[in-house]
């Protein structure tokens, strides 16, 4: 066996791992391996201090392999490849071992079992690392232009940001008008600007920039090409049914959300005077003076919170929609400015007026609005009595569960955001969709706008319910992400692709036929012998061709037969 000098770092993850796994026992067990030169535990392996310690170890001990046993490879693979690179170690001679998501967190009930599994997993990581060869990524040139899908507030702001940083922008909007939901909003917190006014301003800014091409009534109908240089076909409807093709280096999806629409009869929805929050906001925004509904002044309003949100097991919307508490409280204050004498009752489960929105909540209470807390298993009941009066009954948790009956002129169902149905776009871009139906970023904190699809980012409320301000912030994050990639003019492609061993290949053609990307060609060696050859820039590294080779001549780098079999042997072995 080759003599290697491998460093192994076992992470405690501040207790997320070490509360359930005896990390010191793991460290000792793997330190015995003759190829392991350094074996340490760390409170947080990803911390700057530990990263620098690893860099120092690699340099000092001239390590030629690195194993980090911490969280899922989805989180920190790039972090530790960077550590290896900074220390002069080839980044592909590093293996990430998943001790958190696939061990400590999955076996919180079995410390011994989790510890033994950890030892096996880390040993498998070492076994793989022992066999890893240095790899160099394929470098692709990137087109300095981005496609932004959706011209709501996030997409508009992203387009402006991209243009200002010197990138070309194709901005497409499915509707005839830009601005999405924000266009329809009235006065917005905290600057008291009108939604329409904000959108007009942003649209003006977009039009002022030559680098932005805006298409309305437009949709993405095809994505071709490869990372760094995607070909996108944009079809516009209307007078000219036209399809235009552009080359773009990145794609930013900002397709927004839909508002939850209650079922007929859900909290009385369908009865005149029972409105959703967006419907009510429009009414308040449009009212010049005191609010009138159906020719009668509105003297009392009951808001029912969490309609269509935080649904129990089996419900399609189990998440909290985050923004709606604040939106309802803000609407309360807007109404109070126009109808100061109106009685406003808020029937809530929990209030989530986070950050400075707490000030709005306090303001609303101080001005006399009443807040009544109900329990999820005894929701308020809405009905119209025989005399035509709307009535809401609720058990108030704050006054010893007493049943309170409210006679009100309007009932406002505080509805949240739901994911927009966008099946075609999901298919075309291979967008990852989460359990809640919103698009999934790689990591909400560490890589908050990137997706697993190279060159495709998401921002705004297509990720999860957001306020306009948060949507803009994520739009700008997508700008930074695009710029970091496209301003360099080059991006690296994963070198972990399939390769052919020419000594074994007899060119039967099985692999060539099997590759839908056309990555496998033919090459003539000396003596007229034909062998298959794989283009590393075209190969996606799926390995679908490998099991089809009768000569076992194809391996995916980083997942070779020898590496996988060595891992299997380590996982199967005893832990004593």
């Amino acid at each position: 066996m080759s003599e290697r000098k491998i460093g192994v770092y076992v992470c405690q993850c501040g207790g997320n791992i070490s509360d359930y796994v005896d990390v010191e026992r793991v460290r000792q067990a793997v330190a015995e391996d003759p190829d392991v030169v350094v074996a340490r535990t760390a409170m947080f392996t990803c911390s700057d201090a530990t990263q620098e310690e690893i860099v120092d170890d690699i340099k000092l001990d001239d390590l030629d392999g690195l194993v980090v046993a911490s969280c899922s490879p989805k989180l920190h693979t790039f972090t530790f490849r960077g550590v290896a690179r900074r220390a002069g170690l080839n980044p592909y001679r590093y293996t990430q071992v998943n001790l958190r998501e696939q061990d400590s967190w999955a076996h919180t009930d079995d410390r011994l079992g989790a510890t033994e599994k950890a030892i096996r997993l880390v040993r498998a990581g070492i076994a793989r690392t022992r066999l890893l060869e240095p790899l160099d990524p394929t470098v692709v040139e990137t087109v300095p232009r981005a496609l932004v899908i959706g011209a709501g507030i996030a997409g508009l702001r992203a387009a402006i940001g991209l243009a200002d940083i010197g990138l070309g922008v194709i901005l497409i909007e499915r509707e005839a008008e830009v601005g999405g939901h924000v266009r329809e909003l009235g006065t917005m917190y905290p600057h008291d600007r009108q939604g329409q006014e904000l959108i007009s301003e942003l649209l003006g800014e977009v039009r002022r920039r030559e680098g932005i091409a805006l298409f309305t009534n437009a949709e993405l109908v095809r994505k071709g090409g490869t990372f760094g240089n995607y070909e996108v076909d944009i079809r516009t409807r209307g007078d000219s049914n036209m399809t235009r093709r552009f080359e773009v280096g990145s794609i930013i999806v900002a397709t927004g959300f839909d508002s939850y629409l209650p079922e007929e009869g859900e909290y009385g929805y369908g009865i005149p005077g029972v409105l959703t929050l967006p419907e009510f906001k429009k009414l308040v925004d449009a009212s010049e003076g005191p609010l009138v509904y159906g020719d009668r002044p509105v003297r009392s309003v009951a808001y029912i919170y969490c309609v269509g949100s935080r649904q129990g097991e089996g419900g399609p919307h189990q998440y909290c929609s985050r923004f709606c508490c604040t939106s309802a409280v803000h609407t309360d204050l807007e109404l109070r400015a126009k109808s100061p004498k109106a009685h406003q009752y808020h029937l809530y489960r929990d209030m989530r007026t986070y950050g400075r929105y707490e000030l709005l909540y306090n303001d609303s209470r101080e001005k006399g609005s009443a807040y009544l807390k109900f329990a999820p298993d005894t929701p308020p009941e809405v009905q119209r009595r025989g005399d035509g009066q709307l009535e809401v009954r609720v058990h108030d948790q704050l006054t010893s569960q007493e049943e309170v009956t409210l006679d009100v002129d309007l009932v406002v169902l505080v509805t949240g955001m739901v994911p927009r149905s966008n099946q075609e776009l999901i298919q075309r871009l291979k967008l990852p969709v989460g359990r809640d139906g919103f698009f999934n970023e790689i990591h909400p904190k560490l890589r908050p706008v990137e997706t697993v699809v190279d060159g495709v980012a998401i921002c705004g409320a297509c990720q999860f319910p957001k306020t306009a301000g948060e949507s803009v912030a994520s739009g700008l994050a997508a700008v930074s992400w695009s710029a970091a990639m496209l301003k360099q003019g080059r991006a690296e492609l994963d070198p972990q692709v399939a390769t052919v061993d020419p000594d074994l290949c007899t060119f039967c053609g099985a692999c060539t036929e099997a590759c839908p990307y056309g990555a496998i060609g033919q090459q003539e060696l000396g003596g007229g012998r034909q062998v298959a050859v794989i283009d590393p820039a075209t190969c996606k590294g799926c390995g679908g061709c490998a099991p089809l080779c009768p000569e076992h001549a194809i391996n995916v780098l980083g997942y070779t037969g020898r590496e996988v079999e060595a891992m299997i042997e380590s996982l199967a072995a005893g832990v004593a």
Binding site: D103, H107, L121, P547, V556
Partner: protein, 147 residues
């Protein structure tokens, strides 16, 4: 000798806990298995996962090797219809499965010791359910290599 390289049968008095090798895929099923952990859903710590790019790239030889090394069961958490690489990933993975079972038959391993199911990137609960069912089935079959 029924099979070579099989681990010794557990000695009397110890309880048999099946060792399961799971093959997952980097973009689809491995995130689903991660989510099971993030949700603190429990399954046997003797189920261990190796992530590969795509389930169509799993060599049948690896599966046979796992049994030779003493794994009692192998579970392929496949990409199913969600594969971002290959539209015919399911068919290709099914062929890998069939070839592996043929190899297992030659070596005398019961075909039920190999399972495959599509696990999506948020399929935490289905994955854990499969693990529980598979573990129960392997408990009935007993340790690999024991007649």
């Amino acid at each position: 000798m029924a099979t070579t390289m099989a681990p010794p049968a557990p000695t009397a008095g110890t309880t048999f806990s099946p060792k399961i090798l799971v093959f997952s895929t980097n973009n689809i099923s491995d995130p689903g298995i991660d989510l099971a952990g993030s949700s603190h859903l429990h399954y046997s710590p003797r189920a261990m996962t190796i992530a590969v790019p795509c389930s169509s790239g799993i060599a049948p030889e690896w599966i046979a090797h796992a049994f030779d090394q003493g794994f009692d069961g192998v579970f392929i958490a496949s990409d199913g219809e969600e594969c971002s690489y290959l539209t015919d990933c399911s068919e290709r993975s099914a062929k890998v499965f069939e070839r592996a079972q043929a190899m297992m038959a030659e070596k005398g391993y019961a075909p039920e010791r190999l399972k495959m199911a599509a696990i999506c990137s948020v399929c935490a609960e289905p994955f854990v359910k499969y693990m529980h069912e598979f573990e129960a089935q392997l408990l009935e079959l007993g340790p690999v290599g024991v007649a």
